[in-house]
Symmetry: C2
Subunit: 597 residues, 2 copies
């Protein structure tokens, strides 16, 4: 029953006005990526998401994927939608013309990823995983490997996967057991069991290129003995022609809470032919080079479910008549008022709205830093952007998926008991959203990366760099709206610094402080980062209003949402500050045997 309408007004505002992407593209030398072109690309992407993907969202959930005699069938319509996606050239959008790509910026592709993902997350995961495989080949493949595999992934003819997890190891990849035995012809025989492989087997493309983590015979133990391999579902001749089936089969599909339309496969590799990518034993390091984009890809899921839940609960809140406003009848001609008049329903709607729109800015901001990191010709600019990208990515992944899940639940809550019924789609939105806090590194793991690697190991340097970005904004911001948000934001930045210094000092004394405070500190930081983005957005809305440009109602809504964010969501930092500073003792005191009697 639920529907998706791409929020183009907001997307274009965040893209063009807040992030000034056309200027950013010009500065990177993307001559074709003018605003006329990027607007048109985004509008076409919106049509594809609305027309082809949204109608398959609920049916895909109900139907799911099936495995029969080793063959996985995706839900009705998924393959046809993928064929249109390929025909329209979407897979090649942000890839190099050298391998058949259109050479547009990665960040423009991200706008599409959000729209496809919001319309139908399960479907969008198939091209999403391909993208990960493509990035691996771009970064670490040989020229021959790129010619052979990358070109066909870019064309969309084939898709790709990332095969990391094994039954006994997910977070702790150092434990992995899949073996790679060298062959005389330079290839390897791969043997082992991988689980939770998204898009791991399906009927949407002719071949699947698996990127597999495995160990060489003489590999050191732990994470320093992992290498990366290409294992195609069908072997590929040097002419690119699909050959025999390789020794990799789908043993089973997982029965999951949600994302039923995506095939989550257990893959058994039995002497499958594979090819090393990148240096031996440096597989994990190679993976890290593109893990930031993969995590941005998952962070989008938070925005997606907040946006979908928002749109559908808003429609319901305007339609559903129940009770009267406490300040007098708002629809006296009807038997009751629409529930949108009730403050608590508005609280739930505005939370979803602030998360979706704030999260969108967060994603765009990160994708802009990602562009700069990889494309800027100026070394200092690239390094500056890389600091921001490394620092903010774990926050985006964990914070946005956590508040995205909360938003999906609030969307459902607006429906009361009806939200629990499958037909409305709200419960599917919650079920689909729930995985986002676990895969691609749980919230806890993102928080350890954030505090351990991006703050402590880095001695707070990236933190300072981001602080300077906000300070520059505070100095340069102008207009009455900027004035309104300047002081509360400045105060939060001071407090953040104080809390960070306290955390760093406490962690130096007691290592348990790192894990004890990490999730709360990540969430705390997330709320402040989003406050910065809302202040930027409010400043621009205020300037437009003062200049009398554009749709005043739209800019007024921006200001209203920013004020809501500062009044109702940003204060969550108060509790988080207290729990961060309360330290690890109450977590570590209980003896393991005393948890239960």
């Amino acid at each position: 029953m639920g529907e998706y309408k791409a929020p183009l007004a907001d997307i274009l505002f965040a893209f063009n006005d807040v992030m000034k992407m056309p200027e950013h593209y010009a500065s990177l030398g993307y001559e074709d990526a003018t605003q006329d072109l990027t607007d048109a690309v985004i509008e076409e992407g919106a049509k594809f998401a609305e027309r082809e993907l949204s109608p398959l969202n609920q049916s895909g959930d109900t139907e799911g994927c099936t495995l029969t005699d080793g063959v996985v069938t995706t839900p009705t319509g998924f393959k046809a939608a993928y064929d249109i996606y390929v025909e329209n050239g979407w897979p090649s959008l942000s890839h190099s013309p050298k391998y058949g790509g259109q050479g547009l910026p990665e960040s423009l592709g991200i706008v599409g990823s959000e729209m496809y993902g919001t319309a139908n997350w399960s479907w969008a995961m198939y091209p999403g995983l391909s993208h990960g495989a493509m990035r691996t080949l771009v970064a670490h493949g040989t020229e021959e490997q790129r010619e052979l595999y990358l070109t066909r992934l870019i064309s969309g003819e084939w898709t790709g996967t990332m095969c990391l997890t094994e039954p006994h190891c997910g977070t702790d990849l150092g434990l992995l057991r899949t073996r790679a035995t060298p062959q005389e012809d330079g290839s390897y025989k791969i043997t082992g069991n991988k689980i939770f492989i998204s898009a791991g087997e399906h009927d949407m493309a002719e071949n699947i290129i698996h990127i597999v983590l495995a160990r060489l015979p003489d590999a050191p133990e732990g994470v320093k003995g992992i290498s990366l391999f290409i294992v195609p579902k069908f072997n590929v001749g040097s002419d690119g022609v699909k050959g025999e089936r390789n020794g990799v089969v789908c043993g089973s599909l997982e029965h999951k809470m949600g994302i039923h339309g995506n095939a989550t496969a257990a893959l058994n590799f039995d002497d499958a032919t594979g090819y090393l990518i990148g240096p031996a034993n440096e597989g994990l390091k190679c993976m890290f080079t593109f893990m930031n984009t993969a995590r941005i890809g998952t962070a989008i899921q938070g925005v997606a479910h907040a946006e979908w839940g928002f749109q559908n609960s808003l429609t319901y809140a305007k339609d559903r008549l129940q009770m009267r406003s406490l300040t007098g009848d708002k629809a006296p001609d009807k038997e009751a008022d629409p529930i949108i008049v009730h403050p608590d329903v508005r609280r739930m709607l505005l939370t979803q709205k602030a998360v979706a729109e704030g999260g969108r800015m967060f994603i765009y901001y990160l994708s802009q830093q990602n562009d700069l990191t990889h494309e800027s010709k100026d070394e200092a600019t690239a390094e500056h952007a890389d600091h921001l990208l490394q620092f903010l990515t774990p926050v985006a992944k964990a914070f946005l998926t956590e508040i995205g899940y909360e938003s999906a639940n609030l969307g459902m809550q607006c429906f009361g008991g009806h939200g629990y019924i499958h037909e409305w789609g709200m419960e599917q939105n919650v079920r689909d959203a729930r995985i986002s806090m676990m895969y691609e590194g749980t919230t806890g793991i993102q928080a350890l990366d954030f505090v351990g690697r991006k703050l402590l190991m880095n001695k707070g340097e990236s933190f300072k760099i981001f602080g300077a970005v906000v300070n520059d904004f505070l100095k340069e911001s102008s207009g009455s709206a900027a004035k309104e948000f300047r002081w509360p934001l400045r105060k939060m930045m001071w407090e953040w610094k104080y809390v960070t210094l306290r955390l760093m000092a406490a962690s130096a004394k007691d290592r348990e402080m790192v894990g004890a405070a990490s999730v709360d500190y990540l969430m705390y930081s997330g709320y402040i980062i989003m406050a910065y983005l809302w202040a930027r957005s409010a400043m621009i809305a205020g300037q437009k209003l003062e200049a009398g440009e554009g749709d005043a109602a739209f800019y007024q809504a921006k200001l209203d949402t920013a004020r809501f964010y500062y009044a109702k969501l940003l204060p969550r930092t108060r509790s988080l500050k207290a729990t961060i500073l309360s330290g690890p003792s109450t977590l570590m005191a209980m003896e393991e045997k005393n948890f239960q009697f």
Copy 2:
């Protein structure tokens, strides 16, 4: 895969040591309800839950209920378990001997409700709904109605339902349309459509007694024109013999996110024969007399899912090996440490534990006030208890189900990606928990009841009465543990009073303040009420430790959990205080048309 083991040590501690139920029963004249007897009843209930209900929890979810030609089939084993339940005499436990009951206190039955519900919430809803119907008949039925229907509900031969919701009205029962037309023989013909009727149709008992809200022909509009009717599935002769099928049929079963084992029926009443209970047009008032117990029944669901998630994630956290502790290897002989060594995993486990055990005390405390309200011969005592019951019940319902759902999600999170897979049962625990914040009045509705009726209309009197209870505890508490918690609790009580006065003053000026602050204020109050209960529990644990009585490890764990609660959960009040006081303006500012562009 999940299992349930009744947490008897904690149940008996909360029941006997914290709430001193045996003394309470003696004071009410329940001579049979000695501690020997109540302990034995609780232990027998635990066995029934563990042996008969827990094994059907996952299969019931997978199988669900089916409707074929108007006949609903419950999952395999549900009826057999119900038969054992009836044979063992459980339905009659806390009902009057006059109608075949065992005459034990209602609060003792509540202990069983938690255990059955934790083992298998879907199953426990069948007797749970019966209990609601029984309470209605006890409070408002004629002697003849009680003889005819109540006796057979108490014996468990039949079950009951509560039929309130219609497609266009849930929260706003004033809008309901089901009609009752008087007949010459004093009966009524009931016509209308009811939805979301839990346990509304099934194969577990011979007859179903529906309690139905409907309108008489001359009824005033709105809530003042609703009457209450008995509508049996099979008509019943004056001799109690089951006769012809009545005009009520199950039109469909809802496809829900969870609680698949419980049949959620759409019931069509077509000239069904019904009998008025209680005075005409006072149906809603009649319902309110037992709505507190119904809400306590739903509040239990928060405890149930927190307890189930806790037990199963604790087992997993001890088994699963992943990463090393940051303070050195804890299991050097294994390939990694069990994840329970990591502070963030402990945070998730302890949150669930604190919610389950704190929630259990909350439920017992309320059920004690419920006993006193209805059973105390001293009028002042009964009135005092009624104040507490009325005031605290909406908090228990909304607060415990909200934090119970959070706990279920944390239990799932401990499993990482495995939590998303059906097999482990953690995702079912989340799906089943999700309804608890919506049915029996959403969190928003409980909050309006709490702030609107229980605080403002009552001019803060009940608030003062509860404050005096806590103050008495603070004065009388003794021992070193009491000393430790006294100051933080006292501070919170002062702050609560301050926030309450501010809220009352602001609501007098702007009625939107009520709805704007209600949910945050309810949650804020919930954390403080639970802090009081944890302080009580800690004081007793401290006294036992100082006296060298009982299992020191158990009491040490109590103290550790109380300290965790004060350090990591109670500080959530800080954010809530800020959002309560920030008022309604940022919620109400946005024009309805500006929510979306």
